[in-house]
């Protein structure tokens, strides 16, 4: 701190501190604390606020734990988000390795440019694209019929949601893994091969351990984006597939019960915190490695 004052003077240092404090306190910490506090209060009409009914309780959380449907939707969200995370990892690892170590340095940027075109088109349009493709009378089924197969009802169960989530968030897995593998010295891979290690062994013992921070970062981002996704489930869901964020929206917009909504949002936040710490523990990485 004294270092800052020495370099930039006290008034500039004050401005720096004020900006940072505004960000961390007013935009991040206190809002989350308010969310936490709200979730323990009952939902009351304005004239009863501060009245005898206005006290802290766990009631909003009991609403969740007493609703088998909400619990089921919560665990389905966890299950399918984990599945999508795993699938994204499996799908992007070979490509990340290819782009980082196999393809020549001139073509890799061109492939990247093509890959990130969907990123510039917003998430909502990305899932809308799949809404068109997967429609029962849509182009994918027309193609299947063209080669003599039966049309498939894609938008049923969680099928379409899974496809949409993978498509929307795949690049959030690919980019960090690519960055991690790029920083690996190619000599290490060659040494492993020269010493007779098989392809699998080279990856398992050399490349994957080195790319752990990237894998952790990708997994955390993709899981969080999936579990918190609003747009993909509401575009591509079938009646039998519901997502936890839809329940939150119901409380906030239809029930207009912001307190229960806050409790549910807090559960979602807790889920993400648990997932982050689990990944950090499992892969033995620090937060600094994840947020590169």
């Amino acid at each position: 701190m004294s270092e800052l004052i020495r370099r930039y003077g006290s008034s500039l240092t004050w401005i720096i501190i004020a900006f940072t404090a505004f960000w961390l306190l007013v935009l991040v910490l206190i809002p989350n604390f308010v969310l936490f506090e709200f979730s323990f209060k009952p939902y009351l009409p304005v004239d009863q606020l501060g009245g005898p009914k206005d006290f802290y309780s766990l009631n909003n959380y009991w609403t969740f734990f007493n609703s088998p449907i909400h619990i089921r939707i919560f665990f389905q969200t966890v299950l399918y988000s984990s599945a999508v995370t795993l699938l994204c990892l499996i799908l992007s690892y070979p490509l990340a390795y290819f782009l980082a170590k196999i393809v020549d340095a001139k073509t890799a940027p061109s492939i990247f440019l093509l890959l990130i075109i969907p990123l510039w088109v917003s998430e909502i349009l990305r899932s809308f694209a799949w809404f068109i493709i997967l429609a029962f009378n849509g182009p994918l089924n027309a193609m299947l019929q063209g080669i003599g197969l039966e049309p498939v009802r894609w938008i049923s169960g969680f099928n379409a949601v899974i496809i949409g989530l993978i498509y929307s968030y795949l690049l959030f897995m690919l980019l960090p893994i690519y960055n991690a593998i790029s920083s690996l010295d190619t000599n290490q891979i060659e040494a492993s091969e020269d010493l007779g290690a098989s392809l699998w062994r080279t990856h398992w013992r050399v490349v994957i351990p080195h790319s752990k921070p990237g894998i952790a970062s990708g997994c955390v981002m993709v899981f969080m984006l999936c579990a918190g996704s609003v747009i993909v489930p509401s575009t591509l869901a079938s009646p039998s597939s519901r997502w936890f964020t839809e329940i939150i929206q119901q409380w906030m917009f239809e029930g207009l019960d912001w307190n229960t909504g806050a409790a549910y949002a807090f559960l979602l936040l807790t889920l993400c915190i648990i997932f982050v710490s689990l990944v950090m523990r499992l892969l033995n990485v620090r937060l600094v490695d994840i947020a590169k």
Partner: protein, 269 residues
């Protein structure tokens, strides 16, 4: 050796499949903008039309939403860039323990679902009787977009030579001059990248905006409500325009990159 060759072709085939998976949906979506049918699709084909572009052009709600998107994005950039830069400079001057705590708080919003950010922002300002609206969307978005700016600036600070500041101070520069002439010019590439990323992150944000917007529209919210309430290919027309803009940007970028490469090569020879 045979298996090696097989691997060579297998991985290339995989890359092509991967690219097709990422790009074909955009082609389908863009193509459907020209199909003369009310339900957006490219199959069956009912004939070429530009009707949906005209309908999009005449849609006042879309124009309002587009304007809002730009205003929000500009406000987000105007706030995130100074906040994120200040955060990075402050963080860089801290010692190990407090540094990692503050760092954790700073990156937490990136790892927080947008719905949670949106709801907590809404409730916080509700306590002060500030009604929902796009101003809250801006504040909610800044909370995590500032973190992106902070990470970019922090990375750039690693290559900064603090000795330059010492020299300037010794030579009698004022504190403001050290900041404006020495530190900030070094950070400009990161600040510029942060502003660009912040603008597009804001423009494509849906989750935070949904919970904080009140009755106002942004482009993403407008598209979302259209998808729920009855889709017409006007959305595809919009998508086509966005994709076209992106592709043109990509082509220009690639062209300049190749020319720069060629120039560098020429200079070497």
């Amino acid at each position: 050796m045979n298996s090696h060759r097989f691997g060579y072709y297998a991985i290339r085939f995989y890359v092509i499949l991967f690219l097709a998976f990422m790009l074909l949906p955009l082609i389908v979506m863009g193509g459907a903008a020209f199909n003369d049918t009310r339900f957006p699709s490219i199959y069956p084909w009912f004939g070429f039309t530009t009707h949906w572009f005209q309908e999009l052009w005449a849609d006042n709600r879309m124009w309002g939403a587009a304007r809002n998107t730009v205003f929000v994005a500009i406000a987000v950039v105007a706030l995130s860039v100074p906040i994120g830069t200040a955060g990075a400079i402050l963080l860089n001057s801290l010692q190990a323990r407090s540094r990692s705590i503050i760092y954790g708080i700073m990156v937490a919003p990136i790892l927080t679902p947008g719905a949670v950010i949106g709801i907590s922002t809404l409730l916080f300002w509700y306590k002060f009787n500030v009604p929902a609206g796009l101003h809250l969307s801006v504040l909610g978005q800044v909370s995590y977009i500032a973190a992106y700016v902070m990470l970019l600036v922090l990375a750039r600070l690693q290559s900064f030579d603090a000795g330059l500041e010492e020299a300037a101070l010794d030579l009698g520069a004022s504190h403001a001059q050290v900041m404006r002439r020495i530190l900030l010019p070094h950070l400009y590439p990161a600040i510029f990248a942060g502003a660009l990323i912040g603008f597009f992150q804001s423009a494509e944000n849906f989750n935070v905006t949904l919970f904080t917007r009140g009755n106002s529209d942004t482009l993403t919210v407008y598209v979302g409500s259209k998808i729920r309430s009855g889709i017409t290919p006007t959305i595809n027309a919009l998508a086509f325009l966005l994709i076209a803009a992106t592709v043109i940007g990509v082509i220009i970028y690639e062209f300049r990159r190749r020319r720069a490469d060629a120039m560098a090569k020429l200079a070497e020879d």
